[in-house]
Subunit: 138 residues, 2 copies
């Protein structure tokens, strides 16, 4: 998905297009790494120095609401965000450089059914994340 389409989507949902938003959207969308709000702030300020940290939080909130970005959980903290893959996808994270890859491969139906049976739980959602080292960091 292109940057402009994220902006269009924001607009279609009744939000205005501003320089602050543009800078945040471009930053998050261009990144292949999970970024914390503070990291987004530092990077986006290079594009638009007047940017305030508050606007970063507010824009991330809206992007998450529109499912354009998703929260990334890591062993130490879970306040990082990455552009959301389309459809149901899982994450593969490089533990060294933080690069994120998406993958599909949902063969978990059999597993979840078995667990549901055994535990009596009604299962609604699942998370699958892999951690490792990317080609460059090995």
């Amino acid at each position: 998905m292109t940057t402009s389409s994220w902006l269009t989507l924001l607009q279609e949902n009744g939000y205005r297009l501003t320089e602050a938003r543009r800078a945040v959207v471009e930053t998050v969308q261009d990144s292949t790494h999970a970024l914390t709000p503070l990291q987004v702030f530092d990077m986006a300020r290079k594009k638009y120095p007047a940017l305030g940290l508050v606007s970063v939080y507010r824009t991330l909130e809206k992007l998450e609401e529109l499912h354009l970005i998703q929260r990334v959980h890591q062993p130490h903290g879970c306040q990082a965000f990455i552009s959301a893959g389309s459809g149901h996808q899982h994450l593969l994270l490089c533990q060294n450089c933080g690069q994120v890859e998406f993958f599909e491969g949902d063969d978990l139906e059999a597993l979840t059914n078995a667990i549901a049976q055994r535990t009596g739980y009604q299962i609604q959602e699942h998370w699958l994340q892999l951690f490792g080292l990317c080609r460059n960091c090995q």
Copy 2:
């Protein structure tokens, strides 16, 4: 694992046995729900009213270090802890009441191998968590 063996383990690792620690350890170990430090504080204070919040943080830190408890990641925040299962286990969380069940069932080898091949990543670790409603909360 019994409460006393956690305390023994703390002692064997050079930590002293105190009332504050006893109260925190008992609270965390008796719980089938993921608890935040504040929840642990409130519950443990019933056993030992002089307890300070700082000691809760410090004890949780040590228990995590000894792999007796593990951090639980949830869609909204990941500052809750639960007694660690023994061996490699996955979590099933009730989204309503917060109850935690452990399950095994590691049929992910084939999947991770395929992903490693495709992406060039060297995969080291994986997370699998299921979310749903327990029998009581349905």
